[in-house]
């Protein structure tokens, strides 16, 4: 993977709504399920552009170009070879994500973690305080040319915690008491499994949804 000398920051800054953040990935190794349907270029309903590539393909490309893999790169390859590298551009701001596809029963999900973002507008000291966290989105294919991403809403999870109906390891961080899940991947996976089959009303909020439509544009 090429390094652009960019500072890594939280994915939440890219989205206006409150999505659930987690220290650990939402998937387990056994649940990873690669799907090439989402490869390609997409435009979302909030005028963002998505360029989705296979990490495996990117590594192979680098290999062909004669890039030597370090030990760290090899570890990263092993961990994310079934994932996607997503370049997301909105209002000329660019960010890179690793998205890991996984399945619970017959439902696809994407676990997002940001890896790159341009640092021009971010104070470096403030950036040092930021932490990469995972988010999760339900992945649906309404039609052949469209993909729907529905992020897990913080509001719904907070509601479950406040009504004392759920024990899930978490922390409330900062003056805004931002919810940060600290449960293990196994627990997060178990939670999602239960959540998709539960009777919770409007599990996937409209405000946390993005509908991506395929384009032919190149980044």
């Amino acid at each position: 993977m090429k390094t652009r000398g960019l500072i890594l920051i939280l994915a939440i800054l890219l989205f206006s709504s409150c999505i659930v953040k987690s220290l650990q990935p939402f998937y387990t190794k056994a649940s990873i399920s690669y799907n090439d349907k989402i490869l390609g270029n997409w435009t979302d309903n909030k005028k963002g552009d998505w360029f989705v590539e296979s990490i495996k393909a990117k590594f192979e490309e680098d290999k062909k170009d004669g890039v030597k893999l370090t030990e760290e790169d090899t570890q990263a390859f092993e961990a994310y070879k079934d994932g996607y590298y997503i370049n997301y551009i909105k209002k000329d701001n660019e960010a890179g994500f690793i998205a890991m596809p996984f399945k619970i029963d017959q439902q696809y999900f994407l676990d997002f973690i940001p890896i790159e973002i341009e640092d021009e507008e971010i104070n470096s000291l403030a950036a040092d305080h930021l932490l990469k966290t995972h988010s999760v989105a339900k992945l649906d294919f309404p039609s052949g040319d469209a993909v729907k991403l529905s992020w897990l809403s913080e509001e719904k999870i907070t509601n479950l915690l406040n009504t004392k109906k759920m024990r899930l390891k978490h922390e409330s961080i900062g003056p805004e008491e931002t919810l940060l899940l600290s449960a293990t991947s196994k627990e997060l996976y178990a939670f999602l499994k239960k959540y998709i089959s539960s009777d919770v009303e409007e599990k996937w909020k409209q405000s946390d949804m993005l509908t991506l439509v395929k384009t032919n544009a190149k980044p």
Binding site: R167, A183, K194
Partner: protein, 355 residues
């Protein structure tokens, strides 16, 4: 027979309080597990549901262990069988709980999310720890009640001995009185001059027998006075050519002995070894005491007048003495009876390090 009846009496009283024991055990388990499952924070509804369901799953192997495995194997000293069945019990229920606990919770409480709780391996670990700890608690509880039962048996035994002693003592007094009245009667028949003195001596003897001897132990000197009074009293009746001899070699006159031990022996000698005016063989008494050892020997002529100790009528005093010795000086005494053609001799030796 005595122990059997005591045991059956104690067995009728059930000292175990299974409700109390289980109440305390499961309440403690609930508090500890609730604290663990709520991660040290205030327990919430979902924690209570999970903890109670988990305890229900845990209760099955624990109760099987308490009420089947421990009584059938551990208490019967079938240790290998117990360890094997304990392990099977643990594995079966820990594995079943690992598989079934979460699906059962999810189906019974579909709107609740039981997520950050125990993994299968943790369930196994908790089951192992809890089964072992509860086994130790159960054994401690059993020991506690066993100890209480043992103490009660001891108390009952002591009470029984006390009752027996009181009964024996109550038997001695009328027996002695009966013999003494026979002496007075004999003196009265013969209209002896010393009858009034004899009555006073009898009165002294009876006072000692009735009042002074009603303690656990008396000083040896008091018993010696009693013996001397009795000999003097009997001398009113019996006129022997050679008087009764008493040889006393006592190191400590305050040496304590059980009261009324010696009188029955003296009575026995007078009753069966002396015929007034006929017997040439005197009664010889030796009384020795040194350190913790006390020996009393008494010898009289063997006149074959119902000297048998087994005779129900004539042997009441000696039989009482034998019973008393067995109760009071168990394994600390020796009662030796030597009966030859001419002589009848009894030697009583007591070793008592406590007095």
């Amino acid at each position: 027979m005595q122990n059997l009846s005591l045991n059956s009496l104690v067995k009728k009283t059930d000292y175990h309080r299974p409700l109390l024991f289980n109440g305390v055990l499961w309440s403690l388990a609930l508090i500890i597990l609730l604290f663990i499952f709520s991660k040290g924070k205030s327990p919430i509804t979902v924690d209570y549901i999970y903890t109670l369901t988990f305890l229900s799953a845990l209760a099955v192997p624990v109760l099987i262990n308490f009420y089947i495995l421990i009584p059938r194997f551990l208490k019967q000293e079938k240790y290998v069988l117990y360890i094997v069945s304990f392990t099977i019990n643990l594995f079966v229920f820990a594995i079943l709980s690992g598989w079934l606990l979460q699906p059962i919770l999810d189906s019974l409480f579909s709107n609740y999310f039981f997520i950050s709780y125990l993994t299968k391996s943790s369930i196994f670990l908790v089951f192992t720890i809890f089964l072992m700890a509860s086994t130790l608690l159960k054994l401690a509880e059993d020991w506690f009640y066993f100890n209480t039962k043992e103490n009660n048996i001891l108390r009952l035994k002591n009470q029984q001995i006390e009752t027996q002693l009181t009964a024996l003592r109550a038997q001695i007094n009328p027996h002695f009185l009966f013999n003494s009245l026979n002496v007075i009667y004999a003196l009265a028949l013969e209209k002896k001059e010393g009858i009034t003195t004899a009555i006073v001596q009898l009165s002294d003897i009876l006072r000692y027998v009735i009042y002074d001897s009603d303690t656990e132990r008396v000083a040896l000197k008091d018993e010696m006075v009693l013996l001397k009074n009795y000999i003097a009293f009997q001398n009113h009746r019996v006129e022997t050519p050679i008087a009764t001899s008493i040889n006393i070699n006592v190191e400590n006159e305050d040496f304590k002995i059980y009261p009324m031990l010696l009188l029955p022996l003296l009575e026995n000698s007078y009753k069966h070894g002396i015929i007034a005016g006929e017997t040439n063989t005197p009664i010889k008494i030796n009384l020795l005491q040194q350190d913790h050892k006390f020996t009393f020997s008494i010898e009289n002529a063997n006149l074959n007048t119902k000297n048998s100790l087994d005779n129900r009528h004539s042997g009441v005093g000696l039989e009482n003495l034998r019973n008393n010795l067995n109760l009071v000086y168990k394994n600390q005494h020796q009662l030796k009876i030597e009966a030859s053609k001419d002589l009848f001799k009894v030697i009583l030796t007591i070793t008592d390090e406590h007095y």
